[in-house]
């Protein structure tokens, strides 16, 4: 007699299989569920999501100009999710009844929608900046070495992406500026909003500062070429004075130290030209040779040949 599988048994096993598969199929099943349903995210969940997007996009934006930063693979989907969150929040705002609670929810939803929209722009700006930043950094480095033509050509490479990032950041700043802090539901959210505004504004000013510096370098190419050699003409001096007045390393963000180095070089060159003694070339070495170490028991290093002890010879001054 042929053996027949029990139907109930088969059903039980199938259920067991389904249950065991559920934990790792759950994320896929969740993705298949319709968004607009009775169980669609509640306004508070959407608002928290908007805050999460602002937080992570702000972090990514700050890190995008750091050396070695890698754009996360999920950046595009995060940006899309931020926009999706914003549109859901706007839908929530539209559905609110004309009551006091409805008004509060409506204003909050709009405020958080602005945040989410700003985040999408910030994600995109991070990605654009990440590709431009190493090139810009290299352009600054070349400029510090007075390799002006190479520096300008590097800057040209980065310029397109820098302009795009600037545009995206302006959009983000506009959205953040439209967010009413009094409509947000937590003081922490307000603090985060203000921080993000500062960071976006700082990044815009850093991009503009680099644009300003490199346009001045382009306009006064020869003056910058002569900066390292010291063969400055009267017109070079005028050009460098104008440059020094225009630039502000404090606004250059992640390129601040490089810009400060350039400003410092210009300042030194101008002082030399004016006959100032600020660079003091030679003085230090003279002083150094004048106080050769003697012998004695100074115990800091305790190694032979270093010249130790208090018998250093009389110092020229005690400062």
């Amino acid at each position: 007699m042929a053996r027949r599988p029990s139907r109930r048994g088969m059903l039980a096993v199938a259920l067991l299989v389904a249950l065991m598969l559920l934990p790792f199929l759950w994320p896929y099943l969740q993705a298949l569920m319709p968004v607009e349903s009775e169980t669609s995210p509640k306004p508070l969940e959407l608002m928290v999501k908007a805050v999460m997007h602002l937080n992570s996009s702000d972090t990514l934006l700050s890190r995008s100009v750091e050396p070695g930063f890698r754009v996360p693979r999920s950046l595009d989907s995060m940006s899309r999710d931020a926009l999706d969150t914003a549109s859901q929040l706007r839908a929530v705002a539209e559905k609110q009844p004309p009551s006091r609670l409805g008004l509060i929810t409506r204003n909050a939803s709009i405020a958080y929608a602005h945040m989410a929209e700003a985040s999408a722009s910030m994600y995109n700006a991070s990605s654009t900046l990440a590709s431009a930043s190493p090139i810009l950094e290299e352009a600054y480095r070349l400029l510090v070495k007075c390799r002006v033509d190479e520096a300008l050509s590097k800057y040209e490479e980065a310029h397109g992406n820098l302009s795009r990032a600037e545009g995206l950041l302006e959009e983000a700043y506009g959205q953040l500026a439209e967010t009413r802090p009094q409509s947000l539901l937590s003081e922490n959210h307000t603090a985060l909003l203000l921080d993000a505004e500062d960071d976006v504004a700082g990044m815009i000013s850093a991009i503009r500062e680099s644009e300003k510096l490199f346009s001045l370098v382009e306009a006064h190419r020869d003056a910058f070429k002569h900066l390292c050699s010291g063969n400055l003409t009267q017109s070079d001096i005028q050009a460098l004075r104008e440059t020094l007045k225009s630039i502000n390393p404090g606004r250059a963000g992640a390129y601040g130290y490089e810009e400060a180095s350039i400003a410092s070089m210009i300042e030194d060159a101008l002082q030399c030209y004016n006959g100032s003694t600020s660079s003091g070339a030679g003085q230090g070495s003279q002083q150094g040779q004048g106080s050769q170490p003697g012998s004695g028991g100074h115990s800091h290093s305790g190694r032979p040949g270093q010249g130790q002890g208090a018998g250093y010879g009389a110092p020229s001054s005690d400062d």
Binding site: S264, E267, P293, S301, P315
Partner: protein, 312 residues
């Protein structure tokens, strides 16, 4: 020399789930064995032929249970890759502990106000920001020097932050060379990679010649120099830096405006110097990937379906 090969290890996010899954399968399996024994007895009474492939089915079911239980326990693969230590990937080695020996000049000239503020105040704000950059694993020693060298604090960045208000400039003489030698010595005897961050206006007028000290450590000392202000004697720092192949930072009115970026660059350079001068040309970084869950789940489902071909 090439980088060491990557290694991979397999870990479970929730090992309890795996254990519970496998344990829960035991009573089910005992029940199934009893049913099977009963069906065997019936088969022998009725004279039916024996069921083929019993052992293969058993193996398939056990494999399915183990794989599905493992899949449900959030497994991940940890891959350790060797990453080269370069200035362009500071994030990779940010977490590697380093000892930072900060040596600050407190001679009289550090009171000069050629930066809008006094040199010592500028140095203090640079060091405060530098301490904030440090990671949890880093430790710090702050020393001051004039004609003598004094240890101000040694410990975590937080502990040293408290001590930072204490150094006052105004002491006689500046033993720059001795301070450099002492700092390098400290860095060398520390059990972890160390770096000396020497902060001075370069007004050396006492003690060992910094250039001779630099000569002794030519190209090997883990040192970063910070020149504060515009002292005409400070070219000695440039010369020492050139001899040691150390990076020299300038703290002047321009870099003070961009103090955050200045400190950020200084920190990256210091950490890079500490690691490379200690011979650490690469570090091992752990990367996690979670695709193992899906693979185990699919394999588990395959074995389970395969084991059902004879029914229950």
């Amino acid at each position: 020399m090439g980088l060491p090969a990557a290694t991979i290890s397999f870990r479970l996010g929730n090992p309890l789930i795996a254990a519970a899954g496998i344990l829960a399968a035991v009573p089910v399996y005992i029940w199934w064995l009893r049913a099977r024994r009963l069906s065997g007895r019936l088969r022998s009474i009725l004279g039916s032929p024996a069921k083929p492939g019993g052992r293969a089915l058993f193996a398939a079911r056990v494999t399915a249970i183990i794989l599905l239980s493992l899949a449900a326990s959030n497994p991940y693969i940890v891959e350790y890759r060797s990453v080269p230590v370069t200035l362009s990937n500071p994030e990779a080695y940010r977490g590697v502990p380093v000892r930072h020996i900060i040596v600050v000049d407190v001679s009289k000239s550090m009171n000069y106000r050629d930066l809008g503020e006094s040199r010592i105040d500028a140095a203090r704000s640079l060091i405060a920001k530098y301490l904030r950059e440090l990671g949890a694993g880093d430790n710090v020693t702050i020393m001051t020097f004039s004609s003598n060298i004094t240890t101000l604090c040694s410990g975590s960045p937080e502990e040293c932050m408290k001590a930072l208000s204490r150094p006052k400039a105004g002491e006689k003489y500046s033993a720059l060379g001795d301070a450099l030698a002492r700092g390098v010595l400290e860095a060398r005897v520390s059990g972890i990679p160390g770096v000396v961050v020497l902060v001075s206006d370069g007004g050396w007028n006492y003690g060992s010649d910094p250039r001779q000290v630099a000569e002794r450590y030519r190209g090997t000392a883990p040192v970063v120099l910070v020149r504060v202000g515009h002292d005409p004697r400070a070219t000695v720092m440039e010369e020492a830096a050139a001899i040691m192949k150390a990076r020299l930072f300038d703290l002047n009115e321009f870099s003070l405006k961009a103090i955050n970026d200045t400190v950020s660059e200084l920190y990256m350079q210091a950490k890079y110097t500490a690691l490379t001068r200690a011979g650490r040309t690469s570090i091992r970084v752990a990367y996690r990937s979670y695709y193992a869950s899906s693979i185990l789940g699919v394999l588990g489902a395959f074995f389970l379906i395969a084991s059902l071909r004879e029914g229950v």
